[in-house]
Amino acid sequence: MVLDLFKKFTTLWIILVVLAFFPIFTSTFDLPFWNDVVMRIMLLGMAAMGLNIVFGFGGMVSFGHAAFMGVGAYCAGISQYYGLDNGWYQLLMSAVSCGILGIMIGFLALRTSGIYFIMITLAFAQMLYFFFVSLEQFGGDDGLIMDRSDFIFIDLYEPLRLYYLIFFILAAVSIMLMLLIRSRFGVILQAIKSNESRVEAMGLNPLKFKLTGYVISAVICGLSGCLFASWQEFVSPDIMHWTRSGDLMIIIILGGLTYVAGPLVGAIVFLLLEELLPDLLHVVFPSIAENWMIIFGPLLIAVVLFGKGGLMGVVGNRFTRPAARKDQ
């Protein structure tokens, strides 16, 4: 079974191996800043992978998953505000809170479908956003400065330790997803995306599976948010702004939404573009370097128009097949 996972998810394993050795590269060439970029890539990639459970595999276009990142981040921030700075405890808190919230929001939102689902998930995310903006005690809109959480045995002020903590949690999430997507549950989720009424006719209650998928994805986003807070040493409602939900969706579509590795590939490309495009433009076309989004926007449109299946789809096979089967 393990060998099989290596064979089926080649891209993901390659990325994980590269990520594992990346700090050696940066220290050799003295580019410590790039560790930081990659940490952000891993965090947003992890959240996007979580979202992709519902988005790519379950066919539910949730426009509000940044809210779970926010809740995870605030679990860390608020715990620390009250002196509970054990990082493992904060991760647990984030997972539990996002799980409970996921059940509540999922249960209500999954009554709807299509565009209505997109909008109701956005509505709940906006409610949470405004809720945290109004929490004056925790800095409201200005946010809450916090220390990196205290992960027992791991002193996070050594930058590489945070890097590897994020890496190992990302790797764990990745392996869990590889298994999940090929499991009975994963197969049913993808079957629901393919044809909900057939699955229902087979005697399965789609809501149960969709809700479970929704909760798992919420928990993963929560974990990502909790680590995000430690990375940023700061929590503010900005982490759950609706544009971040949009960013997560873009990351997924960019990478390829029917692939487990897609969101990670998307995160790498998206954040590298954000990082390098202004610099690049400055060399080529200095007068509009500040307006780099005028290139970025059409680029996204081009990906949709010409790169069906995202980058993974362009590189790999172009057929729509369930992720449970295809080689990635």
Partner: protein, 386 residues
């Protein structure tokens, strides 16, 4: 903004081979919001920094200098990553800029801990002035509460008995009203928090018309200020109540408000007509180079560069501890005159009452009509222990 990645690689190579053969260069990372809706503010700040570098002949304190501009996109996580880039990749000696409180909060700890000076050109939230202060942080602007404090004090002296206060519902808005109430002795008959980013204030104006307060105090920065003042005038509210503003009618909104803003009063630490040599040169050159008056954001950005120049010149080095000592001692030559520094590294400065007027060319600008506070320090300095 150049291709930093390539620069970094090349620089690393040079440093390894050439060692210290080069003359010392001081590197300043300047962070502001260049893209998105607030891009106009960042643009003015960038202009001002470039002007300052021009005035200093491209050197800071006589040392070769390089300024690297980065666009924070007004997002905390992007800001944090850029700060990291400036620190680790560019290895800058000073980080300056930053418009927004939340962005400053996002990078405050990281930059100060790395033993690099962080000089804010605008943001001044209370945590970094008080209990969370750090010796490596300096403000070239003000603490958020101070400007409304000045307005509160002025309104006392003007004999305003009761006021209706209005600000957006976010942290800075609440700080502003808290600061205002700290100094204002009269009655606050209404305290209304509008939505952040609200564009239409007609509903609030209707409520205000019904309440008929003799005075209205507002904090509505950026686009919100343009909309508020415009709609205030359109609704003929001047007949109902007198408007007192902070950070709502300034060099950013005046070009959009034009004559509509005439007569509006506000408090501020700086004004284009402030009478000193540095300011006169700054305003005149800014106007001729970029067309139009600079805003206080631009002035503070200009001052940030002047402060670095002063620190290097006086200490003769770009060493953080030495520069810090110079800046903490105060006496920094700026567009606001010689700036004194408080124990928490925020300026102790004058606060002026300004009115929107037409200049001799018919352009609407602001003019100082009174000095409300002289050498005013902020309320949080006592909580600050380095």
């Amino acid at each position: 903004m150049k291709n930093k990645f390539i620069t970094a690689v090349i620089a690393a190579g040079f440093v390894a081979s050439a060692g210290t053969a080069f003359a010392e260069t001081i590197k300043v990372g300047y962070m502001t919001t260049l893209s998105g809706g607030a891009g106009i503010i960042g643009k003015q700040m960038k202009n001002a920094v470039e002007l300052a570098m021009e005035h200093k002949g491209g050197k800071l304190g006589g040392m070769d200098a390089e300024v690297i501009f980065v666009d924070d996109q007004r997002k905390p996580d992007v800001t944090k990553q850029l700060a990291n880039k400036l620190l680790k990749s560019e290895k800058v000696d000073v980080i300056g800029g930053i418009i927004w409180s939340n962005l400053l909060m996002a990078i405050h700890k990281q930059v100060t801990r790395s033993d690099t000076l962080l000089i804010s050109s605008n943001a001044g939230p209370s945590p970094v002035a008080g209990s969370n202060c750090h010796k490596n942080f300096f403000s070239m602007s003000w603490q958020n509460d101070q400007t409304p404090e000045a307005m509160g004090a002025y309104m006392n002296s003007a004999g305003v008995k009761s006021v209706y206060a209005m600000a957006p519902n976010y942290q800075a808005g609440k700080d502003m009203i808290a600061g205002f109430k700290r100094f204002y002795d009269g009655e606050v008959v209404g305290e209304v928090y509008t939505k952040l980013g609200q564009t239409d204030f007609q509903a609030e104006l209707s409520a205000l018309r019904a309440a008929k307060p003799p005075a209205t105090f507002i904090f509505q920065p950026g686009g919100m200020g343009i909309n508020f003042v415009k709609q205030w005038k359109q609704a003929g509210m001047d007949d109902v109540s007198k408007l007192y503003t902070v950070f709502s009618v300034d060099g950013i909104s005046l070009p959009a408000l034009k004559e509509t803003a005439l007569g509006t009063i506000s408090t501020q630490t700086w004004s284009p007509d402030l009478d000193n040599a540095i300011n006169k040169k700054f305003v005149a050159d800014y106007k001729s180079k970029f067309g139009g008056y600079p805003s206080f954001y631009a002035a503070q950005a200009y001052d940030t560069i002047l402060a670095i120049d002063h620190a290097v010149a006086k200490s003769g080095s770009k060493d953080t501890a030495k520069m810090r000592e110079v800046l903490a001692a105060g006496g920094i030559p700026t567009t606001r005159g010689s700036l004194k520094m408080n124990s928490n590294h925020f300026p102790i400065q004058n606060f002026y009452l300004r009115e929107a007027v037409k200049d001799s060319d018919g352009v609407v600008t602001s003019k100082i009509i009174d000095t409300v506070f002289e050498d005013h320090g902020d309320a949080y300095a006592q909580d600050c222990k380095f």
